[in-house]
Symmetry: none
Subunit: 213 residues, 4 copies
DNA sequence: CATGAATGAGTGTTCATTCAT
DNA sequence: CATGAATGAACACTCATTCAT
């Protein structure tokens, strides 16, 4: 009804085009990977023609970068914001951020983009570099900041930053890969609750970081 | 014996061909993945023509399966053998197997095959099924056997098998992905010693499994 | 109408493409057979690139089926229509249909498709089945109907349907094979007038079918 | 047993090699045609290696020519011999030769060679020329001689040689094509006895040739 | 004589990107 | 702005023929 009353409908559609294309591209990149996703299929799923896709995004690579900016950079930025405003203890903060990251990103379709990049980085160095800059570096900086916050507040002691960072990342990466690869999704990981898994892991880590020895 | 004494060039080459091709294929599958590896390049790297490759392996898929059998199935089988003959405690056994697996497989080029399968399983269901059957199932069985050994000996208590299996696998998977994806290999993981990482993780796990509560 | 008034080049080309490709494919299938016809050559003869061919026909097999529908099914359908509307005697009808079939099909390039299918049916079972269904079955039904019409009108007597059908087909098949195979086209058949040959044969047949004994 | 007693067995096999290869080649050429027959399969069916085939026949084309000489030229030569020695009437001779040709050649596997040549002559001009010279020309000469014998004896009258030759050949060609192409072998031709078909046709022809008008 | 390993040109089909309309 | 027709390089796999052993 609103469509009939609103004469700007087509214009609204037009303005939504990039968003619809991004949505379609996200779906397909996650489902098939970068190389195996055909640009025609992206266009078709967004309900436009092949030519239109290249009107908004000059190449498949640029389309991918836009998908990353829209879906992957955001959660990191949000995490950074919450970090800046957080008042409580660093252990609780770390656990909170890990769980928030899972709820907002890891558990969503978008996390397939991380799986995709890890899978195909070797074949697309430009994409890898872009992802490195826009995602990995900020995320690692945030993680580092959390650990340093804990150290300077005296809550975390005697830890090796690199090892600890790995220990934070490893289980989350594992969950992502399990979620998006049929090679892992049957490896018993289906019977497991990811949030519980992360919570347990976070507790384990915080306990380790807080120990005196 | 006569072969050693009578090193006809053609004959010597022939017997080495499959091995040379397997070696080249391993390199390229690890470097570029399954889809992006061109059969002609495999042949070229092995120093033969395209046709020769198909003389020894009827298709790219069969070539891949041979690579898996040669490089991935073996370490699992070896682990199972050592498990059968092991005499000591189950905690030590678990730690030993994790480290042995890393030294014999994870740290080698061959582990890139695991990364490859996880990356492309969705696009190649037949390959995924093959890998599932030949690698994942036996490996999970071995892991399960180790945990059950610990339980029946009273060394491991009160653990959830699935969760624990995930906790064993996650860090090793993380190391593999880091080693073989340029998207991760700069994520600080280069400064870390994998064996130490595994050892620490194994200790953490064993402590958790041995705890009374 | 606007198309005629507004002859945009691209548009005009587009609508003619399938026809041009079908024409080129007919030429080449007749000239070289199915297996020996390269899709690139079909495209080149139609003045387009290889890719364009597959824009209109999803595979060489489908291209062939389209060629059959366009060039072979039609004459049979036309014959069936004329049969339905025919008023005169059955002997005259049989002779008329045989000659019409020759003029409309046998004497044209398109009849090379029949030669082609007979030649390669063993190697392409799917194509053979398609041809069987779309061409042979309707054609045999028509022939049968003509003979039954003659029997029910009392004009044709005491004939074995199968033998007679063969006797109708054999000379026409012979003419087609002669026309399209260089192995036969010099066998003296060049000095012969096909229409006269068919007319004579038809007369012979009708006389036989009309004989009392 | 005889093999054990006969030390020359291997030598006998050797001498039979060409024959075994010819036999295998005949089978495969008839089954799949010239282009689609792989030389390796010919060798395999003869129980020798690919190299051996090329030891006896310098190319696939030469192999084919040998098959023709062995299997197709012979029946024509035999027919010519019988013609030379025949004493009776020319009508009976024509009928006899037609039936003999069917029994000795048309009904055998070897007749597939004629189907094959007709099918592929356009793609292999050298083969077509060879077949023309070695088979078609002698066969047409024999047929011509039979007709001329009838004319000079006053038994055959008022006939057009070319038309008559076609009328003799057409049904036999039809039988061969039916026998060797799946596109025709279901066209009702299975219910028919070839010898009877030929006999009827021969009678029809002879009656026509003997008629006064 | 016999082998079979090796070659490499050839074929059907796909897909990112361009551009005339 | 939007379309979709057109391109052509790429890629897995085949096979007649050669030749070292």
């Amino acid at each position: 009804m609103s469509e009939i009353l609103n004469p700007h409908k087509r214009e609204r559609r037009k303005q939504h085009r990039p968003g619809e294309l991004l949505e379609a591209a996200l779906d397909l990149f996650v489902e098939k990977g970068f190389a195996a996703t055909r640009s025609e299929e992206v266009a078709a799923r967004a309900g436009v023609s092949k030519g239109t896709l290249f009107l908004y995004f000059p190449s498949k690579e640029e389309l991918f970068k836009a998908v990353v900016r829209e879906n992957v950079v955001k959660p990191v930025t949000e995490g950074a914001l919450e970090f800046a405003n957080y008042q409580g203890g660093s252990g609780a903060l770390l656990k909170y951020l890990m769980l928030a990251w899972w709820r907002r990103y890891g558990s969503t379709k978008a996390s397939g983009i991380s799986k995709m990049i890890i899978s195909e980085a070797n074949n697309f160095p430009d994409l890898a570099a872009f992802y490195q800059e826009e995602v990995i570096v900020p995320a690692m900086r945030l993680l580092n900041d959390v650990l340093e916050r804990g150290r300077s507040q005296g809550e975390f002691k005697n830890f090796n930053t690199d090892h600890t960072a790995m220990a934070v990342i490893a289980p989350m990466l594992f969950l992502i890969m399990s979620k998006h690869s049929s090679a892992l999704c049957h490896a018993g990981s289906k019977q497991m609750d990811p949030e519980e898994f992360i919570a347990q892991h976070a507790d384990l880590l915080v306990r380790g970081l807080s120990a005196s020895n």
